[in-house]
């Protein structure tokens, strides 16, 4: 490598910083918009973390079918129950996965399904309770083979 003068060094360093800043922009813009879906779901309210367990494998070998279980800590009585839980995946081509609607007649807020994950990402669950409060949790799942075709 040729020896850099101090001035050259500043220029090179400056442009490197520029590249770094530029690189940051598109990375942010690459979000699949899951935040918007969450805020639409909560009506702009920020969900409180807790009350909600999202059970998924830490490593999913096959992204085509990843087991998912949601359990909400709720008595599930007529006056106090979980109304709905939305699942979003922040690394899928489309963030929404599904919305589960619960009723007090279930006795327990505990539901399972299987979902597709395109790559390693966070899966978020947001619950709306009967009193209008919102709770959330998220879970990182490492995906070995993506499951969105292509």
């Amino acid at each position: 490598m040729t020896k850099l003068t101090r001035r050259q060094f500043v220029i090179v360093g400056g442009s490197a910083l520029g590249v770094a800043a530029f690189g940051f922009g598109p990375a942010q813009a690459k979000s699949n918009g899951y935040e918007e879906y969450i805020s639409k779901f909560t009506g702009g309210k920020t969900p409180v973390e807790g009350k909600l367990t999202l059970d998924m494998p830490e490593i999913a070998e096959n992204g085509n079918t990843v087991p998912l279980t949601i359990v909400v800590d709720s008595p599930m009585t007529k006056d106090n129950y979980v109304k709905q839980v939305m699942i979003v995946a922040d690394g899928n081509p489309s963030p929404t996965v599904g919305t589960f609607h619960f009723t007090p007649s279930l006795g327990k807020a505990d539901a399972s399904t299987r979902i597709r994950l395109a790559k390693t990402q966070n899966v978020h669950a947001i619950a709306e309770m009967s009193d209008g409060s919102f709770y959330s949790t998220k879970r990182e799942v490492k995906v070995t083979i993506g499951g969105c075709g292509g």
Partner: protein, 109 residues
Amino acid sequence: MASAKPRVKVPKTAKKGDVIEVKTLISHKMETGLRKDKATGKEIPRMIINKFVATFNGQPVFEVDMEPSISANPYFKFNFKAEESGEFEFTWTDDEGGVYTAKKELTVS
């Protein structure tokens, strides 16, 4: 209309107050709309089951709004508190208006 075969597992009997488990499965490819036909390079149109509804004696008890990120052959498991005898009805609806149903009796003693 794609063919889809629903399968449901519910206990036949339960004691009043018991919380039972309901398991449902339906065969469906859940085409995401993101895949391309390898031979023609054309996109394969989206064709998924977009709604699952479970009712008991006509009352909705559990529903799921489904998106393409739900795996092929959608599976759901949920609980139900047995209070009275009756009949479950499960309905799956797909993008082309296909409706698939299954029914199960539950006797509560």
